[in-house]
């Protein structure tokens, strides 16, 4: 069903300041890390957790994101670009995906 999906443009938005939890990861010790994103590079997220600053790779991981009043699961491969590049690439990616209108 084609419909308006709200909030998916989180791919193009700022991740700094969002609450994030690692849901899936090839490294089992990373699963369950939860906290606020403080910084971001092309390949990693820096997350401020209760146990201190943790650096998590974006690729091959799945994140649970609290964005506004929504909770979403987002694959890390979708956001593995530089933060300033993601606006352009994220929007193009959403346009290419079928069934998603933003």
């Amino acid at each position: 069903m084609r419909g308006r999906v709200q909030g998916v443009d989180v791919i193009a938005r700022d991740w700094i300041g969002l609450m994030v939890e690692v849901v899936e990861s090839p490294n089992e010790y990373e699963i369950g890390l939860k906290g606020e994103v403080v910084d971001e590079t092309q390949n990693t997220l820096r997350i401020m957790t209760e146990k201190g600053l943790k650096i998590v790779v974006k690729k091959k991981r799945t994140f649970r994101v609290w964005y506004g009043d929504k909770i979403m699961r987002i694959k890390g491969d979708l956001i593995s670009y530089r933060p300033e590049e993601r606006i352009k690439k994220g929007l193009v990616m959403l346009k290419r995906a079928k069934g998603v209108r933003i």
Partner: protein, 99 residues
């Protein structure tokens, strides 16, 4: 070939620039280096999508070294009809004319 939606891009870019610089202002007393990183990201976004940094937010940070102005790391003097803001991290002087 998919056409880019440039209006939407610049709208998101504008929001992100404002958000990041405001966040830098909040964080400058907790983590000065991180605050600088936020300003750097905001400037990168503004340059790439050709968005202006709003006037009020422009004078929050040093134009040269990008550190936000923080108490006892900057100086404000009035000289020859201009307000002169000196950054004490890098020594850069910003001159703002007084009308």
């Amino acid at each position: 070939m998919i056409k880019r939606d440039k209006k939407r891009e610049s709208r998101i870019a504008k929001e992100r620039v404002v958000y990041l610089i405001k966040r830098a202002e909040e964080w400058k007393n907790k983590d000065y280096e991180l605050a600088r990183r936020y300003v750097e990201l905001a400037k990168k976004i503004a340059m790439r999508y050709r968005v202006r940094v709003p006037r009020g937010l422009k004078t929050i940070y040093c134009k040269k070294c990008l550190y936000p102005y923080k108490s006892d790391r900057f100086r404000v003097r009035v000289r020859k009809g201009r307000v002169i803001v000196t950054c004490l991290n890098c020594g850069f002087e910003r001159r703002i004319p007084v009308r």
